[in-house]
Symmetry: C2
Subunit: 355 residues, 2 copies
Amino acid sequence: MGNTMGDTGPRRRVTIREVAERAGVSVATASRALSGNHPVPTSTRTRVLRAARDLDYVANAHARALVGGGRKMAAVVVRQVTSPFYAQVAEGVEAEAADRGWLCVVGATGGEPQREMEFVQLMREEGARLVILVGGVVEDDAYRSRVAHYAQALDAAGARLVLCGRPAPDPDIPALVVEFDNEAGARAVTGHLLSAGHRRIVFLGGLPGNTALDARVAGYRAALAEHGVPAAAGRVVDCGLGRAAGLRAMTELLKETREFTAVVAGDDMVAAGALRAIADAGLRVPEDVSVVGYNDIPLAEDFNPPLTTVRTPAEELGRAAVRIALRDPEHASGSHHVLGTHIVVRRSVASPRGA
Amino acid sequence: MGNTMGDTGPRRRVTIREVAERAGVSVATASRALSGNHPVPTSTRTRVLRAARDLDYVANAHARALVGGGRKMAAVVVRQVTSPFYAQVAEGVEAEAADRGWLCVVGATGGEPQREMEFVQLMREEGARLVILVGGVVEDDAYRSRVAHYAQALDAAGARLVLCGRPAPDPDIPALVVEFDNEAGARAVTGHLLSAGHRRIVFLGGLPGNTALDARVAGYRAALAEHGVPAAAGRVVDCGLGRAAGLRAMTELLKETREFTAVVAGDDMVAAGALRAIADAGLRVPEDVSVVGYNDIPLAEDFNPPLTTVRTPAEELGRAAVRIALRDPEHASGSHHVLGTHIVVRRSVASPRGA
DNA sequence: CCGGCGTCTGAAAACGTTTTAACTTCCCCT
DNA sequence: AGGGGAAGTTAAAACGTTTTCAGACGCCGG
């Protein structure tokens, strides 16, 4: 029993009433002095402030939100927070929210729509005024109706919905879209490979139906076409994202054929797996195979070799999401913002052997 | 005015009153049927539930928390969410919280005590019932009084405080400590180097006063002593953490001397920087210099070469923090849990040249 | 037929804040 | 002198729930 101070009994927080009493004013005056919502002469104000400090008063956010009809809270929903890319987006949201004194909640869904729905529901209960759904997704009917429902419900509550890197099911829906130009990014990085002389290039990490990946595949194909490479020379391996997927798919591919000189990975994690698979097969990067990634995650430059990739300013994506959502008074349904990307050249690309 | 959000107009949410009306019952009955807090005959219950569904009713969490006197909310506070290690801890907390239907808020401080204090204050206002402060820290007077204040204030509000990887300023303080055995981990990994034949080993990434790093340095020194290496042969470079710090410090060190054959890095990010610096200096790992890290972050195996390091189950740390805090009804002041670590051998260590 | 008990229900009292509307003062202007 | 504000303050009414307390009703055993 080391705790001598009342360690038992019901804990009661100090209320504004006690502050008011101690300062010798009414509750109303205390509230005004504390919230600064209404001018109060300096003398009383300091008296109230002092009483609050003496009592270590902490306002009850619930009571405040209850009467105020809302609260400054944003929510980011991602697949998982340990993904470097998502972590950066979340950090951007958090930072921008913190700058305005907003609270930021993050939810992880593990990719399960069920958990996404539960989380959005929870945010409705909590009165979040901004919900940011992050990450590409396969756009099926279930997705469309889910998002339509979110949008309608949040809009009815006066909250904003922003979709980061995923499409709005309908242009009329009250949701904002902020995303990168995946098509352009993939086109640029594939072009980089083509310029180095590569002709047999495989795309590793397709995920049919997933809008983000489909766009990258489209960019890859467009680049091929631009450089006059017959479409048949291209190849897309639909292994999805993640290091494990990249590792497995690349291992398989190498067992099947070596008729390619370069691979563009769906993202940097896939590239990490591919790099490992290539090394395990006794091949060298970039001498034997060139590899490019996507996203430029923080550790991409520490890969072996340092990865040439497409930089997608993820933190900026998060910041932009809240900035735009909070600025834009129109909330213009179907408002669509696309952020640019650029290629960052490191050492995972060389000219192919024969060139 | 003063409204930063374009005012789409304060929309009114559906209240329980409307649900009750539609179901033809009183508010009290509706509440009981919805919250299941009190038995209600099936017929009325279905009626109420149906009305709620028809109206897309969402309970107001604030009102509920106001009367209920609390809410299921946990907060994790980290330096930055993009640090792989912290991200994993946060994920663990989030997962464990979600499992119990709790909400999880994450705050990033950027390492500034000021922001830490603001965030804890915010959590007090919000009525969080669990606050988890993560990450080593220099234990000075400011820290001690800060944490003592958090502990007292949260305890007074009936909330729990847990310190992850940072010390409790006083054993009597109402806070829980959960951490890894840094000393043992560093001892093991340094021992690994010593067993390979290394004798001139430098520790890169000290941060005097920081308890986590001090413990690792202590482990490093203990290992040296165990193997009969004179203390004078050891060297600690106090460059702090982070990739940039490791890169800079290692570059400096290599300019000054090459009288060492191995380096143990303060964590994996420092190791990443060191790896790069070593490569830039034209040396090879592990042939010329062996390197080990700390934490085994997800991409450590993709470094060049794959990094031998100490695995600290970060997600488990986060899970354990909430599990212990929520389980232990005593909250036993000074309760202290330490989680084990183990070394994971990859390819960044070889026997030194002469051996 | 009555007293008592169980089961359902509803009116009203919380919870802690902000805001509204009204009430003083006090001062300046006519 | 008297009227009109402005400035400072307060009591009381919200806000949307849960919970308490008590009433209504039906049923059983005496």
